[in-house]
């Protein structure tokens, strides 16, 4: 891995409209080479569109971006020879077998037939897919699909690997496997830019995180820096009776001295707190006031809480991801 430029990806003021929607509304990114960079945001925040622009699949309406010093608009072909993309949806041919997919890509990237075949076999073995090599990808499980997707992205080891929501919809075991693969890739010198909806995932993998909302970067830093801005932890409370939630909200706000977030679940509330003693007293207070608590926990802040801290409102549930998906279809 060459280490000439310090930044693997640099974007300044990227803009992309779809009709009247500003899917990407002035995004700045600076991704240091050789690191994992997390782009965190809810559905529809513009993550996918940003990744599509950076991998030359879409033209920005404004702003500039470079990959390892090469401009994505002036030198798209050079950029394509440096990056590799694993899209949010299956980015291999589902009708073909695992081997056929990897041989296809190997041939397209310039390997001879036998080199491509060898590379495919090596990758399938390394990703634990040797047994499924001759099965059509449409018969793979979700976790296997994700692994073949990623394998397809490193037939030639890219300088920068873009992973668009690599673990969305995966069970915890498959998710851990994908995480392990990403860690190994980075230890081999590849820069990884991944998008995710899960703070947990960004926290586990990313050296730096950009939080995106409505097409803008609303916070950027290491996960430690972001958490410091959000509060050390969060208390989650579930009540027995949803009718009591307004009472509980009033009590908790008073006892904890911070804003209380009403979750989508009609019996759930949460708040960011520093002090666990305070939480213990607040829960006792609820019980004393006759509000029955089904369960409570003290844990890491959720994405909702990060958003509440950064924007003063919960992360919105958009019905679809970036409209780019729609126009690309």
């Amino acid at each position: 891995m060459k280490s000439t430029p310090d930044l693997a990806v640099e974007a300044t003021g990227l803009i992309k409209h779809f009709g009247s929607t500003r899917a990407v509304d002035g995004i700045d990114l600076a991704v240091p080479a050789g690191t994992v960079y997390g782009v965190l945001g809810p559905n529809g925040a513009g993550k996918t569109t940003a990744v599509r622009i950076l991998t030359t699949l879409q033209q920005p309406d404004g702003g500039t971006a470079t990959v390892l010093g090469h401009d994505i608009q002036r030198e798209p072909d050079t950029v394509r020879s440096l990056v590799s993309l694993t899209g949010q949806f299956a980015s291999v041919d589902e009708d073909l077998t695992g081997t056929e997919n990897l041989v296809l890509l190997g041939r397209l990237l310039g390997y001879s037939r036998s080199q491509a075949r060898r590379r495919a076999d090596d990758l399938l073995t390394a990703f634990g897919l040797a047994d499924a090599a001759d099965r059509q990808v449409k018969k793979y499980s979700g976790g296997m699909r994700r692994r073949i997707d990623i394998a397809a992205s490193i037939v030639v080891t890219p300088e920068v690997l873009f992973l668009d929501e690599p673990t969305t919809g995966l069970d915890p075991r498959s998710r851990n496997q994908v995480w392990d693969i990403i860690r190994v890739l980075v230890s081999g010198g590849t820069t990884v830019l991944l998008t995710t909806q899960y703070l947990d995932e960004a926290d586990q993998l990313a050296d730096r995180i950009a939080v995106i909302d409505h097409g803008k970067v609303i916070a950027e830093g290491t996960s430690g820096e972001l958490k410091a801005s959000v509060g050390a932890g969060a208390v989650h409370v579930r009540l027995r009776d949803p009718v009591k939630r307004p009472d509980a909200e009033r009590h908790l706000t008073k006892a904890l001295g911070v804003p209380v977030l009403l979750e989508h679940d009609p019996v759930a509330l949460s708040a960011r707190v520093e002090d666990s003693d305070l939480v213990a007293r607040a829960i006792s207070g609820l019980i004393a006031a006759g509000i029955e608590v089904a369960e409570f926990s003290l844990g890491q802040p959720s994405l909702d809480e990060v958003f509440l801290a950064l924007t003063g409102r919960p992360a919105e549930e958009a019905t679809e991801d970036a409209p780019g998906e729609e126009t690309a279809a």
Partner: protein, 283 residues
């Protein structure tokens, strides 16, 4: 709360993945960039693999030609030419054209289906000659057109079609037809990129193809048609194509007839090829 600790990577499976993966990563050096011919042929190979895995997609190039040839031969044969045998000598080159031209619609249908899937994003993010996925798809379709042609010709021979042009004439006719069909194919790749759904491509495609194939000299001699229709038939490219096909199969084709077909194919490619690429780049 985190369910995953770094130590989890140390369990058996994950460690095996790690060691192999590190070794595999270092092996992924970039080979020299392949030529456009190589990548286009590789995409053609992909089309062949898809036929291997989904052989049902050959129904439209095997069963449809059989049904068409049998139906029109026996439906019109007696009425139009007095006997099935004599009509077949007239119809077969025409029905061959109709069958293959109808098949070109599937080029757009397939592209529209294909491009909506994530795999096309991967192709578009590769450092390759940009038209190669589309050129490769057309190469694959040329194989389908060849299958359809073979079915029609063999069935014709079985039913009693006896071309005076011999083997060379028939093979020549099929080759010229494939060239023309590939030109038409670019119209449907264009439509495949403009229209939203595969079904819309089918609908619009058939709407274009039907009048051109029926209002031609495929089924009947145009001299019996009203003059307004005759003037359309005379300028209809399909008419010229069928004339060349009949000529080749009968061994009487003029260089002008063949030249016209090749020129038309070149013109279609020159207009719709770049248009397709323009639309493809903008997606």
């Amino acid at each position: 709360m985190s369910t995953h600790q770094p130590t989890a990577a140390k369990n058996g499976v994950a460690t095996a993945v790690d060691e192999n993966l590190i070794a595999t990563l270092t092996a992924g050096s970039r080979p020299p960039r392949p030529s456009g011919v190589t990548t286009a042929l590789t995409f053609g190979w992909r089309a062949m693999l898809k036929i291997k895995h989904v052989p049902e997609q050959l129904f439209d190039v095997t069963l449809t030609p059989i049904i068409f040839t049998l139906m029109f031969t026996y439906l019109f044969g007696g009425a139009l030419a007095g006997s099935v045998e004599s009509y077949l000598q007239f119809l077969l080159p025409g029905i061959l054209v109709q069958t293959v031209i109808l098949t070109t619609v599937y080029t757009g249908f397939t592209l529209n289906t294909d491009i909506s899937k994530g795999v096309f994003d991967r192709f578009r993010s590769l450092p390759i000659w940009r038209p190669s996925p589309l050129v490769g798809a057309l190469l694959g379709d040329a194989v389908r057109y060849a299958v359809a042609s073979t079915v029609v010709v063999v069935l014709g021979l079985v039913l009693g079609f006896r071309p005076d042009g011999g083997v060379i004439g028939v093979v020549g006719a099929v080759v010229i037809l494939l060239v023309f069909a590939s030109g038409i194919g670019w119209i449907f790749t264009t439509l495949g990129l403009i229209l939203r759904t595969p079904n819309a491509v089918m609908g619009v495609g058939m709407m274009i193809i039907m009048p051109f194939t029926f209002a031609s000299n495929i089924f009947v001699d145009p001299s019996t048609m009203p003059s307004w229709l005759q003037s359309f038939v005379d300028v209809n490219p399909i008419t010229h194509l069928v004339t060349a096909e009949r000529g080749l199969m009968a061994g009487t084709a003029s260089a002008g007839d063949i030249g016209w077909v090749l020129l038309a194919a070149a013109a279609l490619t020159a207009v719709f090829g770049p248009l397709t690429m323009y639309l493809y780049r903008r997606r």
